[in-house]
């Protein structure tokens, strides 16, 4: 369904590279995690897929969605795909909704933009999808402004917006990072459910291996604009190949650390300067 080949992105006149040729495939309904530290190129990948990179970005390579090339297509061809064939759940539920518009209208907009739905039927669909993402009181939430809702409710509303048109691909960029841990678990469970219900493929971006493992079975590890490893999460935990992945796994398995011992860091396993493994 989605084929990315040698995707390169650089910024500005000096062409500072952000992605150095990444390639991956995503099948219909498949869930793929994308993990890496800040600045590794995860969010740039997401924005490149949607065609929402800033103006000073230069791109190369190929992105094919359902056998149509997306890279280099003009805005008027891409806009109808966004929110319809592919959608995105952003990181910041606090600021990702328009503060001056009731949440329900913002969800309904996605419907009306693509399906041309009338206000009446749109509203009942909005209430239904809000209920689907686990909003306890859909009518109240739909009529509320974002500032009247909690972070978890806002993130559910954003998930509802991303899924209401049954897209083929949902890109989740750290969707739970801004939420506290208990809310995070519930939102992830909801996301897992609705993705399954709608049969949508998902590219799930996170810096947290534990979070990714709740939604995805397979994961790619990104480092400095390259994908250094891809594999099933279970295998990655047991037998990480790349020294950087080994470091990531160690920092995610804090339960293995002896009480009082120094917490592991990635640099214990991976030497950034040389790119080689640190001898254990």
């Amino acid at each position: 369904m989605l084929q990315v080949r040698d995707l390169e992105v650089s910024f500005g006149r000096r062409r500072v590279p952000a992605l150095r040729g990444i390639s991956f495939d995503l099948a219909t309904g498949q869930r793929l995690g994308l993990i890496g530290e800040s600045g590794s190129g995860k969010s740039v990948t997401a924005l490149a897929l949607l065609g929402l990179l800033p103006e000073n970005a230069h791109t190369g390579g190929s992105i094919r969605l359902n056998d149509h090339e997306l890279l280099g297509r003009p805005e008027r061809d891409l806009a109808p795909l966004r929110g319809n064939a592919m959608s995105m759940v952003f990181q910041e539920p606090m600021t990702a909704l328009d503060p001056t518009m009731p949440v329900g209208r913002q969800v309904a907009e996605v419907l009306r933009l693509h399906a041309g739905a009338e206000a009446g039927p749109a509203r009942s669909r909005v209430l239904a999808v809000l209920a689907e993402v686990g909003v306890p009181d859909p009518v109240r939430v739909a009529d509320s402004y974002p500032h009247q809702l909690s972070g978890g409710q806002r993130q559910r509303a954003l998930i509802a917006m991303a899924l209401i048109n049954r897209p083929d691909l949902v890109i989740c960029d750290e969707p739970t990072t801004a939420l506290d841990v208990t809310v995070q678990a519930r939102v992830l469970a909801v996301l897992d459910q609705v993705l399954a219900a709608k049969g949508a493929a998902c590219l799930f971006i996170s810096h947290d291996l534990a979070v990714v493992s709740q939604v995805c079975s397979e994961v790619m590890v990104m480092l400095e604009g390259r994908i250094v490893e891809r594999g099933p999460i279970a295998r990655l935990f047991v037998a990480p190949e790349h020294p950087y992945t080994r470091g990531l796994v160690a920092t995610a398995r804090l339960d293995l650390v002896e009480p009082g011992a120094r917490l592991p860091v990635v640099e214990d396993f991976y030497d950034r300067a040389t790119g080689a493994a640190v001898p254990q």
């Binding site: 929402l52 328009d98 909690s150």
Partner: protein, 317 residues
């Protein structure tokens, strides 16, 4: 909501009273005795005293101030020293002229500045954006009176499309009324639009960096529509403040433009009153202008509550 509105009414009343005191103090501190001016240099002292008593200028300042404020509360702005006409009667036919001019100018300025500023923000790295910004820079450097003169030379003298000056009341002839207002409105609006473009541009550059704008793009809005649909109202919060502040400078600009186009508005009344030292008319006119500015600011304050749901009281969370 009612409490907030009442609070703002209170601020409004206090500002009005403070402004009246300042206006009165400044006018009283002006050198020159109106009775002396009216009767001329070598006038009879008894006649001077009689005239002062008649005008009320022999009373202590506090008494005069009290009388003036109490009168205004009842709609009586005092009586012109020179023509003995009530100031309210002088103001009444002229208020409309100035309000039309100011209202149309500000409206036109917003209509010009909004699309231009949005273009300048959206295309900030392209030639369209740079052109819009440069136009604004040039526009800001052109004084309204000069723009007025050029407009008259081109559209009234050379092309003969529009009248060069004068005014026809709306009730007399709506078409002529409109035609007479076109050039003064454009002259006054140009500078204001140029100033406003810069604010619109920076407000929308902020919007472009907001997460909700990115969300709007991600659900399929093209840039222009995302800006209108989700940016306009958010940008309006800061722009309403600027427009409110600009309205007071438009009122000042109107005084000059009215004299360029010989419009019988408050500005020309004020200028002639100053020339004749008719203090009562000056005080009354300035007071009325202050009232207009305060009403505008009051409305701006209230508009925040309408625009931004976060400022409305109610249950949060």
């Amino acid at each position: 909501m009612i409490q907030q509105v009442l609070g703002r009414v209170g601020i409004f009343a206090v500002s009005l009273l403070g402004a009246s005191a300042v206006i009165f103090l400044v006018c009283s501190a002006l050198p020159g005795d109106i009775a002396q001016i009216m009767l001329g240099e070598g006038a009879d002292p008894a006649a001077l005293a009689a005239l002062r008593a008649e005008l009320g200028t022999d009373r202590p300042a506090v008494v005069r101030y009290g009388g003036w404020v109490a009168g205004m509360a009842g709609g009586d702005f005092g009586v012109s020293y020179l023509t003995r006409t009530p100031v309210a009667n002088l103001l009444a036919p002229r208020v409309g002229v100035t309000l039309w001019l100011v209202g149309f100018s500000m409206g036109l300025a917003v209509l010009i500045a909004l699309p231009l500023g949005m273009l300048a923000a959206q295309k900030q790295r392209h030639w369209q954006g740079l052109l819009a910004s440069s136009l604004a820079q040039v526009g800001m450097a052109i004084p309204a009176f000069w723009a007025g003169i050029i407009l008259v030379l081109v559209f009234a003298v050379s092309l003969r499309w529009l009248p060069a000056n004068g005014y026809v009341p709306l009730r007399t002839d709506p078409l002529q009324w409109a035609l007479h207002l076109v050039l003064p409105t454009v002259a006054l609006a140009g500078v204001q639009a140029a100033v406003l473009v810069r604010y619109v541009r920076s407000a929308f550059i902020e919007v472009l960096a907001e997460d909700y704008y990115r969300t709007a793009r991600s659900i399929g809005w093209i840039p222009w529509k995302a800006m209108l649909r989700h940016g306009l109202r958010n940008a309006a919060l800061s722009l309403v403040t600027v427009v409110g502040l600009q309205l007071s400078s438009v009122l000042v600009g109107a005084i000059i433009v009215e004299s360029v186009f010989a419009l019988p508005g408050l500005g020309s009344l004020l200028l002639s009153a100053v020339a004749q030292r008719d203090l009562m008319v000056i005080q009354g006119t300035v007071m009325f202008l202050v009232l207009a500015v305060l009403v505008i600011n009051f409305l701006v304050d209230l508009s925040y509550l309408v625009i931004d749901p976060r400022l409305r009281p109610g249950v949060s969370r």
